[in-house]
Each structure stands twice: as structure tokens, then as C-alpha cells.
Symmetry: D2
Subunit: 283 residues, 4 copies
């Protein structure tokens, strides 16, 4: 049965919860989940509410009505979705293939509420495997010289595929501010360290040199400030003096796969709100 | 500022959330937290809701009114509490002192929303430390012969101290059905394995013999069926072939302290609902 | 550079380490790693030692010489391997494909020091994907009636592929004692619970009913006693009242993949010794 | 039975292991544990070896003989200890008492192979509890003006107590280079973040602002470069948007206690070697 999901946030005031629950109930709907959060420092209210509308209602119309109510009467910013929407997803990759296979296999196993629709790369290594999975592959080398041109082609591909999400699955290039301004969907990246430690290039090498006893991986939304976007999900693993850089890289691969897949799944299930460079994740 | 906490559960039906939020709002209250859960197999609705009543309201009266409404109009079972209540807690101990010190130090550091008011033991080892903490100590040896007598004395102590919670902080005795029927507050135990593995005596020895690579600890409510009560909290630690029984015991102590303290804290903050030998923990 | 690995165990006595290190040094070898363990309860000595022989030595001959010395002079049981050996591996699968893809992709990514050479299944679901990976697939339905016949065909396939390891990658059938007596290589299974909890069928359903707060996965060697073989590797994940059986299954898949892959990698790198239904894992 | 422990490191060369094992065996000793590590980038060999000398030998003399052999014949740097040595330990504290109580209770429970002999603080909060534990307490306020004077008094206290280890158990002051040059024993600090993230002041506040999903604690040796000394042990905990700064601080306390206690235990058991601002920890 198809349900409606609303993600809201805005200035707190008394009665928001009652208003929302009352509105849904009056219109014959039934709440399946409701999760809220109040940021007491900023006095901002966040909610994810999922409900079944009364039988026979047009879900898009109901969704619109709710959004208007929440915006006008409660002053909320609202994002609406239906539970059967499956946003198209475009992957960006380079040479490493572990997150690439992992995401595609999870998609095929129906773990993700979206459709992977294409792969963009600055290398050709994953052209053949992409085709074996039956997906279009766009190869665009990326250099300082052709950046503008490359970004145009990437954006065109994203639009053509109708992407609702771009996932950098170990795409080892920085996306320019221009690209980020023009792409009109969220972009999630996996960084192979527990940010803010070891931002930038070669984090496992940095971790090895510092002699840390824990390595990590971080999935975050991409913003123009490199590796400083809102963090969605992190996980870590113990390491020891016995582990060289190659071991850290191997141990890290499993972290990267799970952390990135978790972030992508939560985004596709409309569980993430962003506020002041942080995330509220209703899981 | 003092808030009201309600824990509810009962048969699901449309509009419960709206009714509750509406009731609080209409009476001038303001919801601070609300967390709900729907067991779809059993169609049982669970909620923890915490709110500030309108200024000047008598909180006990407000609490009673809410409880009546939820029981009569929504068919819910209800438990009410005020956020400034600090239930008296009685600890049962034997010889091991790690959970004993840990809970008392957390209490003194104001991590627990309750008051430790006394210690019961079948041994005298912790008599002196209990007195140094300024607490009464009841020493009751426990044998097959004097069980009835011992339980009577324990129950009397619990009642005299007005306990709202009994915590078995490594009390190495089984509590009889008679005791459990008469004690009129929850009893939390820490078992030193990840139940249901290694129920019963000497779980670390059992774990060592089986050659597991992970050991654990489990906090649960005590029921007449030994080590089979509703599980509140579990945690684990990796071990290896290098670890003998003594190492498992030492590693386990840290698990036991944290798992038991977490369960006690959640109970004192009214975050736990029990249903069909399981717990719903709103944390 | 190819190195020699020896795995030894036997009754402890003074001077074993000195004898082994001395023997290698005298013959011009250089120790790369040496790890030992002494089981003080049983007085059994375990060692994994890896070394480079003197230049120009025949490695197989050197290996044999060492084994004879360790057996005769030190009374040890010995297993020898060269670091460039890549034992053939046969996978057994049923319908679930997550461990199947995971192991094959790790093999292709060169994370495993072995060669996957074929797949056996009682279902046809993974026939096509197996062929896409370029591997032979043996389909043998398994019923009470045809068990003897099926096992004969399985054993024949294993022998034909020259398997040095059989991996039950979510093969949902019990292997008979007859099979286990005749297969002349280790068999590793992944069980989807933290054994000894929830042995037998449908462990996630059992875990859900018991209301545990942690689920796990266990890789172990297969012995005739179901789910009671020596444990190689375990890992766990937190769950909550929000997680239904389907969520436990989904969360469990990631555990199963990592735990099984870790066990297979350690076995292929000759890091595991079995003794009294336990493992010594030198990692 | 008292055993001898040697910690060695130096340039790798063939035959070190054989030489050491042979030396011990020839003199009638029996190796209990031996763990080694080779840093292949730097070609440095590390070893911890623990053995029982032949009956009747003078252990100090035996220890000296071994050290001379390892230095002269193998070019190693050597640290020797006897297993029954219990180095005096001085704690530095400020106002927070969780690591203070934790370490003292572990010491009293005989988890630590050392003797806590005194407490130094820039505040008087822990004066009374220190005295209740029967330990001397030195109160030295620390300001920019009296730094030299304060450090002199601290060093004098440390020497008078004969400390073999100084532990900063949440001592919220920076130790000057002068102090570090003059104290002739290791100094271990607990930093309340997973370094290198959030070095410096108020790490939980920094973590909250960055919106991380994991917090951590790090035990490290103190060097003149603030929070940049060799890392001994780290651990982490998941947090969410629900956790304010106070929650991070509360969750962090448990991490800090366990991480610091682990580092102190390993140091007192002579398991740590420092090399190039990293640690080799034989556990």
C-alpha cells in the first residue's frame, strides 16, 4: 500500500505535532510512523511523518494539500514523497570498483528504494562491468583544461537520466562549485576517513603516518567546501601496528561499502534533513 | 522545569497520535518528545510522550487526567511519571564490587535519575564500602534452608526503603517466584553473557569452553524463568584464543558495568515498555 | 618472493621456539613472521611461522625437511604451505546470493589467496550468475531420498575441481556425516546467528521472538554435530524493537558477508589451527 | 612465578629471533610469550619476549646479561622488567572525577600491575576523595605566572613518590616542554576525541558543531606538541542528532575511562614500544 512521507523543518512553536496529527486524522488518514526532533539551541523543529491516506484519495493531491498547510499554517519547509517513488540514481566512479559493485548488487537485491540508471567515470575501467549490468556508461576524462566541458557533459547525462540522486562511489575528483550549483539533486560522497580527520587526498596514508588505532569512513553530502559537507553516516574499524597502508585500504573497503550504502538507502527512503551543515537522520 | 512523561500501550486504532497530541495542546501543554512504535504483527501501539503542562497547572492532577483519558477513550495501559521524580533504588550484591561501585559513582555523579537508598547482600564483603558511601547495608545469608526467611527480610528492607527499582548488581542468587510475586517494583539483573547463549551459572567458563570469539553481557528484567526475562540492553566484546577464562572475566567486567548502567538509566528515565517478554526501549 | 608457512601444534616443552628459529637461521632462512600461543590448561604449543629460505633452495624440499624435523624432533603436528599456493575453492549455495557475489567479487579483486573454481547448488537460481562469472555450476537437488546419490555427485565435483576448501555460502542444507568423512578438505559454514545462540533453522526468527538487542553471524568449520563445529570468526550488530524479522535479515546479510569472507581469507592464508573444537587464529 | 620481560627494537637483520630464543634456551630459560613485529618501510625489528629463567638464577643479573647481549650483539635498544615489578603511578587530575575513580578502583581490584601513589591537581575538588582512598594529594594551582614554580613542585612530588608513570586523568592543563624534559618517566594523557580530529580545547563542543555521527577518545603519550604524541589506544561510540553536547560528554566519559585504563594497563605490563611517533602495542 502506498504511503505519503513528509519531511518538515522550521521554527518551533506549540501545537505543531497536534496540528499535523489532527490534519491527517481529520482527512481519514492513518499515521504509520512519526519521528520528531527539536534542536533546542536553535529552536528548530524537525519531523518525518509517514501515513496512509483515506481510501480512494488521490495521493498527489493529498500530498500537495498537506504541504500547503504545513508551509502556510505552520511556517515549515516541506519535502514530500510517495513511498512507491523510486528516484533515478547516477553513480560517479573512477577505478575502484568495490562501492560500484556493492551498490548495484544491493539495488538488484531490492535493498534500495531507487533505480540506478547510469554510471559516469573519468576512466574506462568500469565501462565493461557497467554494460554487463545493462547500464549506460559515460566516459569523460577530467583535467584542469576540459573541466567546464566535462561538467557540461556530466550535467547533461544526469538530466537525461532524470537523476534524483548522484552518488560519488569513490569518484576521485573534486566537483566544482559550478557543477554543484547546477545539479538539481543531492550529491552524496564517501570519504575514506572518519572526517574531520584526514580530509583531502590519500587518507589511509595520512592515517598510517599518524599511527591511529582506528580507521573510518564517512558518507556526506557534497558542498563546495571539500570534505566539509553535512555528515550522514560514519563507521570505524580497529587497526594495529601490524597493519600497513595496504591493510588499511583493504579494511577500509568494507567500511566504505557499508557506510555509503547506508547513506544512500536513508536518502532514498527520505529519512534525512539537512540544517546548518548537519543532518537529522530519522532511522 | 518539570515535565510529565506518559508510557502507553494498547491495541492500535486510527487517530491515537492525533488524540494524544490534541489533548495536550488543547490544555495548553507543549510536547517536548514523542516517540511511538507499532508492532504490526500484534497490532499493538506503544508511545512515550513527554510534555510541559500549561503554567500553573497541578502536575499530578494533569497526569491523572491524561491517564484517565488514555485508558477510557483510547483503551491504553498507562504509566505516568514526573520528570523530577527520583525513585529509590535498592542494590543486591554478592562479592563482586565492580557494578556496585560503578552504579553508586554514577548516582553520585548525577548520571542516574533516582536515589540509591540501600544495599542487600548474602555476603559481608561490601558492608564496609557501602557504609563509606553512607548507605544502609542488609546482610542476609541465603541458603536452601532459610530462603523463606531471607526473602521476607529482603522484601521488608525493600519496602522500608520505598524502592521503585531493585537492581541485581552481580547478585549471584536466584530470586524465588514467591519473592518476585511480592516485590512490587521492577527487578533488573545483569547476566554476564549475550543471552540466550550461556544462561545459568559460570557463563564465562561456558564461553571459554565453546571457543566463542565474542563475549557479551545482557541486562534484563527478572522473571521466574531464570535468565529468560525481557532483554533491555546487550553489548559485546571481541576475544581471541589468547584470552583465558580470567581474561574473559576481566573484559566482561567493563561490559557488565556499562550494560547494567544503561538499563538502569533507561528504566529510571521511564523509557522502557514491556510486552510479550520483549522490551520497547525509547532512547 | 615466495615464502614458506608452517602451522604446528603439539605438547609444550622447553626450547621449541629456539629449535625452530635456530633451524631456519642455520639453513640461511629469514623469519618474516612468527606467532605462537601456549594453551596453559592443556600444555599445548601452537605456532605459525613464515620465512624465506636461502636463495636457490628448492622450497618444496625445504618444506619437507622442516616438517620432518618438527615432527620427529619436536613431536609436533605440522601443516606446510608455500605463500604462492592458491588452493581451489568450491562454493555451495542455495537461493540467497549475497555471500556468493561477495566472495566471488573479493576473489576477482584479489583479496583472497585462492581460486574459486566452481559452484554447487540444490537450486538453479544462481546457475546463470555463476556462468556469467565464467565458473562451472553443478545443480543437485537434495532430498531425503536422493541424499546418497547427491553426495556422491558433490564429492565427485569437489575432487574433479581439486578443491582445497569448500565454503557453504548460505547453503541451507545439512551435510551428512558420510559426506564429511569423505571430503578431504576443510568445510567452512556461515551461520546467521552468534552461536551458540539460535543454532538450527531460521535464526533471525528465533532472535526476533526472543527480543535480543544484538544479532550476529558466525563462521565455523563444519562437523557432524550441526552448528557446533570450531568457531573461526563472529561479528554482531545492534538492533532495536523497531526492527522486524525482515530488518534483522537485511542487517544480517552484511554481517554474514564480512564474517564469512574473513574466515575464508584466514583459512586461505593458513592462519587457522584447530584443537579440541576451538580455533587458534593467528591474524 | 616471576618472569623476565624484554622490549627490544633496532635495525632488522637475519637471525635475531634465533639468537634471542637460543640465548634464553641455552641458559635454561623457558619462553612464555614472544611477539615480534617488522616495520618493512623502516626495516626496524620490534620484539616483546617474556621468559622464566632457570631455577635459582638471580633475575636481575640474568636481565642485565640479556640486555648486554641484545645491545652489543644485536644492536638493539632494550628495556627490561620483571613481572613482579609494580611501578609507582602518579595521577594528575582537575575537577572531573570519572577517570580518577575508575583508575583507583581498578588498581584496588588488582587489574593494574602498578601502585597508585599520589594525586596532583590544580583544583581542590578531589582532595577529599583522594584522602579517603588513603593517598597523598598535592594541590598546585596552575597559572601563567606561577608555571615554573608549579612545575617544580609537581616534579618534586613525582620524584618523591618514585613514579615510573604519570597519568593525566583529565588534567585540563598543558604540560610545558620544561616539565616534559625533566620528568624521567612516560606521561600518558586521555584526550576526549578520536585524534587527530578535534585536538585542543572542548572537543565535544567541536564534535557537536561539526555534526559527526561518531565520538571517540584517545590515550597517547604526552610530547611537547599538544595532542600529537604517539597514540596508544582509541575507541569510539555512535551518536545521533538527538545528542546534545551534554549527551556527548556523558557518552564520552565511558569511553575515556576504558581507553585510559587500557593504555595504563598496557604500559604497566610493558607492552608498548614507541618509534617515530607511533606505538607498537603487543597485547
Amino acid at each position: 500500500m502506498v504511503s505519503i512521507v513528509a519531511l518538515l523543518h522550521g521554527p518551533d512553536r506549540p501545537g505543531i505535532v497536534a496540528k499535523i496529527a489532527g490534519w491527517i486524522h481529520e482527512r481519514g488518514g492513518n499515521v504509520l510512523h512519526a519521528d520528531q526532533h527539536l534542536d533546542r539551541e536553535e529552536d528548530v523543529f524537525f519531523q518525518r511523518v509517514e501515513w496512509c491516506a483515506a481510501e480512494g484519495e488521490d495521493l498527489d493531491a493529498e500530498s500537495d494539500l498537506f504541504a500547503k498547510m504545513a508551509e502556510k499554517e505552520l511556517g515549515m519547509k516541506v519535502r514530500m514523497a510517495l513511498s512507491n517513488e523510486r528516484p533515478p540514481v547516477v553513480l560517479f566512479v573512477s577505478k575502484a570498483d568495490h562501492c560500484f559493485h556493492d551498490l548495484i548488487l544491493r539495488w538488484k537485491a531490492e535493498e534500495l528504494r531507487g533505480e540506478i540508471v547510469g554510471v559516469v567515470s573519468n576512466h574506462t575501467d568500469l565501462d565493461h562491468p557497467t554494460q554487463e549490468y545493462g547500464l549506460p556508461f559515460l566516459h569523460i576524462p577530467c583535467t584542469e583544461e576540459n573541466r567546464a566541458e566535462a561538467e557540461t557533459a556530466q550535467l547533461e547525462f544526469i538530466r537525461k537520466q532524470g537523476a534524483g540522486l548522484v552518488v560519488l562511489a569513490r569518484y576521485m575528483q573534486v566537483l566544482g562549485e559550478n557543477f554543484l550549483n547546477q545539479v538539481d539533486c543531492p550529491v552524496i560522497n564517501i570519504h575514506h576517513s572518519f572526517l574531520p580527520s584526514f580530509a583531502g587526498a590519500k587518507p589511509y596514508h595520512q592515517a598510517y603516518r599518524r599511527g591511529v588505532k582506528i580507521i573510518g569512513a564517512t558518507a556526506h553530502f557534497v558542498t563546495p567546501a571539500l570534505d566539509e559537507g553535512p555528515i550522514i553516516c560514519q563507521d570505524v574499524n580497529q587497526v594495529s601496528h601490524r597493519n600497513g597502508v595496504r591493510d588499511l585500504i583493504a579494511k577500509g573497503r568494507d567500511l566504505e561499502k557499508i557506510v555509503l550504502a547506508t547513506a544512500v538507502r536513508r536518502q532514498l527512503e527520505n529519512r534525512i534533513l539537512v540544517y546548518k551543515n548537519k543532518t537529522v537522520v530519522f532511522d
